[in-house]
């Protein structure tokens, strides 16, 4: 007794007809541009032979415009579950060789099925986008398909990590599914993402623009901030997803994949003392500080090209996963502006949702002054940072390295926003405002009557700076856990992380807070 051979042969035949998608000619054209196929993208991503495909035999149900005679292998999208570095991940990959990868009703149904499964099973969801948009022949059914995907993006949000890859076209409404996800990776050359293209913009507004200006990886990563990572090619994009997932838990009830070392490395790092400039006005490169705190090679920067005056990314300290948020004084003096506030707040909220402790490195002179900032709403944008930090219940550890002035000091996870531990270097200047400004206000009368105004002014500034622009005023009020030399930063952070991992803070229940969007 054995299964009839022709049944196996038919299955094999059906599979061999479906897996090539839109055929060799179309694949060859894309290969010429350095692109991988939808299946190859999943192949390089998942551990070998672990991908279980869902719904390979699904067909579309459209009978208009001659579609009834047009086969659409897999309905233009490959969906399934596999292992990535041994951990289960649900994914879809759109096949642009099949009807341009356009989304129809069944295509959307396949995506929704895999999303619902990711939510129920508590595993990350990865979306590889390469699609011409809605399948016009299916009319409002494809439009509805988008709506169903958007809705599920929101259901998954905060429960399982959602990572999108933009590896081809992603235009119009299609861009809103990635926009609802947590992290986006875009390939540098063959991908575009925009709502209205140059022709539509020209027709509606008369303004000439290029695709490069509005829809390229660079525009999305550096100017609009829609995209978090730029990949050199498809393979690199999938590697970035893999690396990113290595810092994230599978879902919001799990801890991130800490790999705590048995022994803590608590030796002083004297080189940390050397990177602090002697002149308090010389900017410090915060990357150097981060590199010395995290384990070697264990820092993945997120949103690198956007709002470079703040640095965010995932790292490990003696194996414990942390989300790092750091001012970058060598860009725009490390000020907080609209984009930096948005970037920081979004990252903090992700970390909080997925139980990633926060390490905040402070060197901030203030919010960026300017008409554009005020009119652009720096008040409500800056408030997001305050909101995100205050709402975060994960371990919060803050190191004040140098400047920490006024509202921007509060916004960078001060003790008042319930940081668990706050360390400050002896170079810290924690004050309500800069010495120059404070002296002008505090000693207006004295300065007006002084004989040598400039001499009196510099004397008062120096006096103010010594007394107030130091860590000791804040420390004397109990606002700091301790003042530490820079060389002790890594040991202090490492110990603090170990000591706060068991933190369990609960808040009064509510539907959700009202972050000022």
């Amino acid at each position: 007794m054995a299964i009839r051979r022709e049944l196996l042969e038919e299955l094999e035949k059906r599979r061999s007809e479906l897996t090539p998608g839109g055929g060799e000619a179309r694949h060859a054209k894309r290969r010429g541009k350095g692109m991988l196929s939808a299946r190859e993208r999943l192949d390089v991503f998942f551990d070998a032979d672990t991908f279980q495909e869902w719904g390979m035999h699904v067909t579309h149900s459209c009978h208009d415009f001659g579609m009834e005679n047009k086969p659409m292998p897999c309905d233009g999208v490959v969906t399934g579950v596999g292992l990535v570095s041994g951990r289960p991940v649900a994914a879809f990959s759109q096949d642009a060789t099949v009807g341009g990868g356009a989304l129809g009703q069944r295509h959307a149904q396949k995506i929704c099925a895999i999303m619902e499964y990711a939510l129920e099973a508590g595993m990350p969801f990865v979306a590889v986008n390469d699609s011409g948009g809605a399948r016009i022949q299916e009319a409002v059914e494809s439009l509805s398909g988008y709506g169903q995907v958007f809705y599920r993006n929101v259901l998954l949000s905060g429960c399982v990590p959602q990572v999108g890859v933009i590896a081809g076209n992603c235009a119009g409404g299609a861009a809103y599914s990635p926009a609802l996800m947590d992290f986006l990776i875009m390939t540098r050359r063959n991908a575009n993402m925009f709502i209205c293209g140059p022709q539509v913009i020209k027709a509606a507004t008369g303004v000439d623009c290029t695709m490069d200006e509005i829809g390229s990886a660079n525009a999305n990563a550096a100017i609009s901030g829609n995209v978090h990572f730029v990949a050199e090619d498809d393979q690199h994009a999938m590697q970035i997803v893999d690396r990113l997932l290595s810092f994230l838990p599978a879902n919001n009830v799990q801890d991130p994949p800490h790999r705590p070392t048995e022994e803590l490395c608590l030796d002083a790092d004297e080189s940390m003392n050397d990177i602090v400039p002697a002149n308090i006005k010389d900017p410090m490169d915060m990357y150097e500080v981060i590199q010395r705190i995290v384990d070697p090679g264990e820092f993945l920067e997120v949103h690198r090209d956007f709002a470079r005056n703040i640095i965010v990314g995932f790292g490990r300290v003696d194996g414990v996963v942390v989300g790092v948020i750091a001012n970058q004084p060598s860009v725009k003096a490390g000020t907080l502006d609209i984009d930096a506030s948005d970037k920081g707040a979004r990252f903090i909220r992700f970390c909080n949702a997925f139980n990633v402790p926060l390490l905040t490195l402070v060197d901030v002179p203030g919010f960026l002054p300017g008409v554009a900032q005020e009119q652009g709403g720096i008040i409500r944008h800056g408030a997001k940072l305050l909101f995100a930090y205050s709402a975060a219940t994960v371990p919060k550890i803050t190191v004040i390295t140098r400047k920490a002035y006024g509202g921007s000091y509060l916004a960078m996870c001060s003790r008042d926003l319930k940081a668990d531990m706050v360390f400050a270097w002896p170079t810290a200047e924690i004050a309500v405002m800069g010495a120059e400004g404070a002296v002008n206000v505090l000693y207006r009368k004295e300065l007006a009557t002084a004989e040598d105004k400039e001499a009196a002014r510099s004397e008062l500034i120096e006096e103010y700076r010594e007394r107030f622009a130091s860590p000791y005023m804040a420390a004397s009020h109990g606002m700091l856990t301790d003042v530490i030399p820079p060389s002790q930063t890594r040991p202090a952070v490492s110990l603090a992380l170990r000591n706060t991992l068991s933190k369990n803070e609960t808040r009064p229940p509510k539907k959700h807070g009202l972050i000022p969007l």
Binding site: D282, P329, K332, A333, T335, Y405
Partner: protein, 132 residues
């Protein structure tokens, strides 16, 4: 002086626009000029199109312009016009937000124009110098 009709929704408004700047930007009317007698706008250039070339100095050149990342004052200028510079080389120091911010060359090039000197106050986006 130009007379315009603006329609918002179903209502139209007639407005008169008077250009008070000395040298008005050429309006480049595509079709016949409105049947209004030309006002006493001094027209120095014979061909209006030619006037477009006299840009205001604030308009940033297309490429090679190094602009101020934020408002502040120039503390030090390390280079002079004609200097060859390498990418990453310090060009000048901008004092802003309690910091002495190094402005570095975004690329290799020659300083073809230097628009600032120490003590100057600059706004965000101000062209500091141009590299070619």
């Amino acid at each position: 002086m130009r007379h315009l009709r603006i329609t918002i929704g179903n209502r139209s408004y007639e407005v008169t626009v008077e250009d008070l700047t000395e040298q008005s930007a050429p309006s480049a009317p595509s079709a016949p000029a409105p049947a209004i007698p030309p006002a006493a706008v001094p027209t120095r250039a014979p061909a209006p199109a030619a006037a477009t070339t006299t840009q205001s100095p604030q308009a940033p050149p297309a490429s090679g312009a190094v602009t101020s990342p934020m408002a502040g004052s120039i503390l030090v200028v390390h280079v002079s016009a004609g200097d060859q510079v390498k990418q990453g080389q310090a060009l000048l120091v901008l004092e802003a937000m309690k910091m002495e911010n190094q402005i570095a060359a975004p690329c290799d090039g020659t300083v073809s124009r230097l628009d600032v000197s120490p003590g100057d106050s600059v706004a965000e986006g101000h062209v500091l110098l141009v590299l070619e």
